[in-house]
Amino acid sequence: MDPLIGALVGAPLLGAGILLVGGRRLDRTGHWIGCLWAAVSFVIGVVLFADLLSRSPAQRTLTSHLFTWVPVAGFQADVGFQLDQLSMTFVLLITGVGTLIHIYSVGYMEHDENRRKFFGYLNLFLAAMLLLVLADNYLLLYVGWEGVGLASYLLIGFWQHKPSAATAAKKAFLVNRVGDMGLSIAIMVMFTTFGSFAFRPVFAHVGDVSQGRLTTIGLLLLLAACGKSAQVPLQSWLGDAMEGPTPVSALIHAATMVTAGVYLVVRSGAIFNAAPTAQLAVCVVGAVTLVFGAIVGCAKDDIKKALAGSTMSQIGYMMLAAGLGPIGYVFAIMHLVTHGFFKAGLFLGAGSVMHGMNDEVDMRRFGALRTYMPVTFVTFGLGYLAIIGFPGLSGYWSKDKIIEAAFAKGGTEGWTLGAVALVGAGITAFYMTRVMLMTFFGDKRWQPDAEGHEPHPHESPKIMTIPMSILAFGSVFAGGLFSINSAFLKWLQPVTGHSDGHSPVATWEITVATLVVLILGVGLAWQSYGRQAVPAVAPRGSLLTRAARRDLLQDDFNHVVLVRGGEHLTRSLVYLDHTVVDGAVNGTAAGVGGLSGRLRRLQNGFVRSYAVSMLGGTAVLVAATLLMRGV
């Protein structure tokens, strides 16, 4: 079985290699090759899953050590994999959703001459993501970590001729790099602490280390997670990332990559459990982000950006849960999976809409589409219900659990976090309803695009709608299935561990509360977007709205402080390098030259002055000699 783990990563990597090296001659078949390798890895994943199920819960950890990577004295980095329930869950999510989105993209990217490259990148992403979740040590995880970063860079900037896309890609990579810095430093600390950075030895010796160090490691890991999972304060790139093709947004920036941060935290549970401060930090970040994202989501008119905001906020939920420790780990992952389904579904829906509307993204120019693209409407709608946590659908099962767990943390922390999570649920309901109404209901607000083509909304081809439907199915039933006598909990528990915190409030009370805020949110949205017509141009809106439209001014802050500041710094440094550092050297040269010119004048061509210098010299010579003797 073990070699299969390697094959899991190898298959899409091979695909990527073929597609990128193969060149133009593969243009015609490229996309199918891509889908093929994605599917292969999914199949392998399923096989391995079956294998795991066939074992007793304690035996469900497979490892395979490929080769020694970097051996330098104490520093032993290996290329080795570890497949346990946690990574298995991710493998299935990644390969499954991944494959679906591959297929969807065949249709969506049909008219793009670089489709082959696109699939190459997608495969590359799958490989990197699988490496990330399968690595058995942090350094290899780091490789996958940056690998997905690269894939996301390439895919966001896929339409490189669009400056906005190129900029967004660059921004994404840079912000991620800041996070990666955290991860790499964390690894260094681990190495200096444990003399290793592989999961087993590190987790095994957590006990023998001062809490301070663990907190440091934890916070550094959190920094990394923030970068990858677009958590405050490193969230600013996700919105721009929507410049990429929609399937990318669905796969990378909704379902899988952005959730890597959550994976990192849960995977490092052993460390976090021993470092409460770090855990609290995770909770806070999560809580802040879930509100932040939700607010942003409310204000955006760009459908994808709105969804991006919601992604942020949902991941905030997961982070919050992960920060709660054993109480929350399982639910974090569970929400991650369900979110994978419905958010991917929503994005694909959005993509389908854009596909029908000449790539229009402004919701104020949609409206009344439900009749024109029914399948999209239905799938999107189901995803909508799922995300707002409509009772019985996936989101309900996972999100409520998180809210419950937040309360269960106990103490004021518990109450605050719980409250925040609850409010977040309400806002979620609001902005999702808003998206729903503005897109599919109301009256037509369509407008010709730049080239003046009137939009002719139409249902997307089967190849796109089928994946959408499958995802919709998932977003409806996944949560339920997981929760049947808490199968998911039992499945993950051996890895993450679990404890039922004693919630100060009963489960039913929370459910009721959630429903209440949900109805409030929906109602509010209906009030402002359903009852009255949506203006084609955005009204000025309140201060908060305007701030939210600008991602709550976070970008402006970055721009002023980092970009401007950086520019000034570099410009002054360039000047300094030229004038001071180099100037010193050239100055010396000039000085010698000047001195030379001055000394030259002594050579005035007159014999007599030469004679003077000779006689003077002799006098000095004599005097000096006498002086030496002191006569």
Partner: protein
């Protein structure tokens, strides 16, 4: 003879006999002709040259002179080798000619060097392919008739008649003979006389350029006046030393300095008076520093080097340095070692000033010959660092450096003679722009010489520099080494500048042409390159040679 006469004679003689008892008989001097043969051969050749000038028909002179010079010098070199082989370099080295001339390692080594330099110089003197043919006669770089007024009627005639100044060869030979004695001189009188013997011909040679005669004559006048001035000072120094020691022989003075010689108390007020010693010593040293062109006695160098006919410049730059440093070494190591604590600090100062000033002034030069002049000054400074290390390794390092330097210098000036335009040699640097394009080989050769001057590894210059600096450092003069290093960095700058000119700049439209030399000049240049590379890559043999020759007889 008649009786009266005899009587008268007897009268005289008896009286003479009467006081012969009082006056001691003066012994007939005993001269070791064999050991002095090299010098004597060269002198003989010179005299022969004069005779040729006097009696041979014009047409025959050039060939005759060339033959005599070459043969004479070759013979002299052979004699030197023979002497060295007989072990005069080490074991049997002693003072010949009644204590006038030393025959020892350094002397033989330096004389050999000088003779070889002279041989190469003879070739460059004899070069007749460079200047355009004048009225059907091949001409060399010397004036048709030295006495004729530049541009005057008489000169026209001389040129038309195809006159050439073949006197240069005997002059060269006389100078060489003087130079050979100079480093071997073992008493101050010989020192002074030989100094004049090689200086006077050089004064004349400087005045004999075919092109730019005014500059040539000016150079000659400057050189002559300053040279005479310096030799006068030197002579006064000698007088004082004589007054101090009562003798002018190196050995004698050294004994007095060491206090080994017993002094007549009656004369104690003058004899052994340190003031005389110090002042006299300083003045003599100054005379030698003038010849080696050390700051502040260097000012004649650029002007003379620029004005003199380039072959002469090359000869002077190489040979005079060798001879003068030889004499300086002998003076400081044989006569004044006892008072090294007095002169060493002073020489420190001179060395530092020489290195730094030479290098710095050169930075802004625009004329190749002046540039090389200043570089020669800087090199004098480097050599002085070797002199200051009072140790055998110091001597040998200086000897080695002199060989390396002199042949590269000869080659360098030989190259300068080849780059010509309408007005003769094109010595202004701006004219050298793009030479690397026009004739890569020549430019490459000159670049090699420059790199050697700059002391880049794998060239003779580096080996020499390393040798002297090493000796200095071992002699405890580390600061001097540091200064040397810094000034060689400065020096590198202007050597590089020339290379930049030659290779990285576009050639100018009416730039100079490169004359195709005869085998004579080619030999000189080739030899320069050979020495540069051999001494740079495999210097061991020559270092040993210099090392063996590193001990002075006393």
């Amino acid at each position: 003879m008649s009786a009266t006469a005899a009587a008268v004679h007897s009268l005289w003689t008896t009286r003479a006999l009467a006081d012969t008892a009082a006056t001691p008989a003066i012994p007939t001097p005993h001269i070791e002709y064999a050991q002095l043969s090299p010098v004597l051969i060269v002198f003989g050749a010179a005299v022969l040259g004069v005779l040729i000038e006097a009696f041979a028909p014009r047409a025959a002179r050039y060939a005759g002179q060339l033959a005599v010079s070459v043969v004479g010098l070759a013979a002299a070199f052979a004699a030197l080798v023979a002497l060295a082989a007989d072990g005069y370099a080490q074991g049997r080295s002693h003072v010949a000619a009644m204590g006038a001339v030393a025959v020892d390692g350094p002397a033989l080594f330096l004389q050999g060097t000088i003779v070889l330099i002279a041989l190469v110089a003879t070739f460059t003197f004899a070069e007749r392919r460079l200047d355009p043919v004048a009225h059907g006669n091949r001409v060399d770089s010397f004036a048709a008739q030295g006495s004729a007024v530049p541009g005057g009627e008489q000169e026209q005639k001389a040129v038309r008649a195809g006159f050439t100044t073949t006197e240069v060869f005997p002059l060269l030979l006389f100078a060489v003979a003087g130079m050979m004695i100079f480093p071997a001189a073992d008493d101050l009188l010989t020192l002074f006389v030989s100094l004049e013997v090689f200086s006077l011909p050089l004064y004349l040679l400087c005045a004999l350029a075919r092109r730019r005669r005014l500059m040539s004559q000016e150079a000659s006048v400057k050189y002559f006046l300053l040279g005479a001035f310096s030799s006068a000072i030197l002579l006064f120094g000698i007088a004082l030393l004589y007054g101090y020691a009562g003798t002018v022989s190196y050995g004698g003075i050294a004994d007095v300095v060491d206090g080994t010689a017993k002094l007549t108390p009656a004369l104690a007020n003058t004899t052994g008076n340190d003031a005389l010693l110090l002042i006299g010593g300083a003045m003599v040293v100054m005379g030698l520093l003038f010849k080696v062109a050390a700051v502040p006695f260097h000012m004649w160098t650029p002007d003379v080097y620029q004005g003199a006919p380039t072959p002469v410049t090359g000869f002077m730059a190489a040979a005079v340095k060798v001879a003068a440093f030889g004499a300086l070494l002998r003076l400081l190591y044989v006569v004044l070692p006892g008072m090294r604590w007095d002169w060493r600090p002073v020489m420190w100062g001179v060395a530092i000033v020489t290195m730094v000033v030479g290098a710095i002034i050169a930075v802004t030069q625009t004329d190749v010959k002046r540039l090389l002049a200043y570089s020669s000054i800087a090199h004098a400074g480097f050599l002085l660092t070797g002199v200051i290390a009072v140790s055998p390794s110091g001597v040998s390092s200086v000897l080695f450096y002199l060989v390396a330097y002199s042949f590269v210098t000869l080659g360098g000036f030989a190259v300068v003679t080849l780059v010509r335009d309408a007005g003769g040699e094109a010595t202004h640097l701006s004219k050298w722009a793009g030479l690397g394009r026009r004739s890569p080989l020549l430019a490459a050769v000159f670049a090699v010489f420059l790199l050697s001057f700059a002391g880049i590894p794998l060239t003779a210059g580096f080996s020499g520099k390393f040798a002297v600096f090493k000796a200095a450092a071992q002699g405890g003069a580390v600061p001097l080494v540091v200064v040397g290093v810094i000034s060689s960095a400065i020096a590198a700058f202007f050597y590089i500048r020339v290379i930049v000119m030659m290779f990285f700049q576009e050639p100018q439209p009416q730039g100079p042409t490169v004359a195709i030399p005869s085998p004579l000049t080619s030999t000189a240049i080739a030899l320069g390159v050979a020495v540069t590379l051999v001494l740079g890559v495999a210097p061991q043999y020559f270092l040993d040679l210099a090392g063996k020759a590193g001990v002075f007889v006393r």
